[in-house]
Subunit: 199 residues, 2 copies
DNA sequence: ATTAAATAATGATCGACGTTCAAATGCAAA
DNA sequence: TTTGCATTTGAACGTCGATCATTATTTAAT
């Protein structure tokens, strides 16, 4: 399959090395043939990136159940950064690609992102009473953006300092959840809350 | 100047539209001339992105002084996202560009990032006693990555949902700082802390 | 003012790129 | 065997980043 060839090229040499001719060469076809399978190269890249996101969801949705929210969130986040550090070039393709101005990301891509965001939302659910779905969505988006930022910086080689993304992600998850609990306890009851800020 | 031409092109049509020939055409020179000024196109892009970061530092370092850390952090963050939303294409160039595999970001670029990170560190300083610079650095990096993630998602058009990056950034700053205080209060004294979780 | 040296700018050229398309090939049904 | 359809091809087009010998321009020295 063409996607396998593209996957292999990006995995080894990065998105810059990906070209229609190289994909075709690796699978023993002429370059023009690919345009029967994909609209253009952008289409292929977007599908490849969708697969990367979907594969993450497949493994992330497994480890989800149980226990303290911050614990679950950390486990979720570590599945994420483990995937990113294992295939940095592949994830860098997800991060650094953005579609041309006249294009919108297809439903498959957006759906893959939405499902991952749903995982974060599910983890945060115990902290939000019913009726506060809007707030939960916003907090989940912020959390997701934070993970996204750490992973992006870790995979992009824009910094020389070695990034311990695992520690950073843990820090983000525990600190952010502690803040969430603290703020909610403070706002929820006027009486002094009893140690609800513990992780 | 060549950088002005490049700036104008990216600002209007995005990084994809940037080419040596178009820059040269816009400034009335032949394409080859640019190679007297820059090593190659990557070099030019990196310098342009460095300027974007430096310009942000120039305006961000002005509004720094004073008061509650979370207040200051929010003001800092809003300068950031204001810049990003004002020039999304330009910032998207910063976010989506990553150098070729055999290349390392030059000192100027890395310095520009370091100075911005220093701003975040300075805001966080009141929360950390002397001797905990390592922890402060790590928290500042996490905070920076969070802002980076929100800004990236806001400028990249990978999602169809409208991102209220201003609200997200505010949420991140207040929640994260609340968590920081809560965790530190809990770890610092064994006696039960009195309402230190308030933002 | 005349030369010499150094610098700036050019345009032709190279190989590779994404993309298109008429022609060629393969294949199943008639 | 012949028809029709789908697949695959390879040549071709325009554009790209980059190189380089050649020319033009400025600067310095005589």
């Amino acid at each position: 399959m063409a996607l396998d060839a593209a996957h292999a090229i990006v995995r080894r040499d990065g998105l810059r090395a990906l070209s229609v001719r190289r994909i075709a060469g690796k699978m023993g076809y002429a370059a023009g043939t690919l345009y029967q399978l994909f609209e253009d190269l952008d289409d292929l890249i977007i599908i490849m990136n969708s697969e990367t996101l979907e594969k993450l969801y497949a493994s992330a949705s497994k480890v989800e159940p149980g226990g303290e929210p911050s614990e679950t969130l950390i486990r979720l986040a570590e599945v994420y950064i483990r995937s990113v550090t294992r295939e940095p070039k592949l994830w860098n393709a997800v991060f650094e690609y953005s579609p041309p101005v006249d294009r919108v990301m297809p439903a498959r891509y957006q759906g893959a992102v939405a499902k991952l965001l749903g995982l974060v939302q599910a983890v945060l659910a115990p902290l939000f009473p019913p009726g506060e779905e809007a707030g939960r969505l916003r907090e989940a988006r912020v959390m997701w953006a934070g993970l996204y930022g750490i992973a992006t910086l870790a995979s992009s080689r824009k910094s020389s300092v070695e990034i311990d993304s695992s520690a950073m992600v843990r820090t983000l998850a525990t600190t952010y959840l502690a803040g969430l609990k603290a703020l909610r306890a403070e706002a929820g009851t006027e009486r002094k809350p009893r140690r609800t800020a513990a992780q």
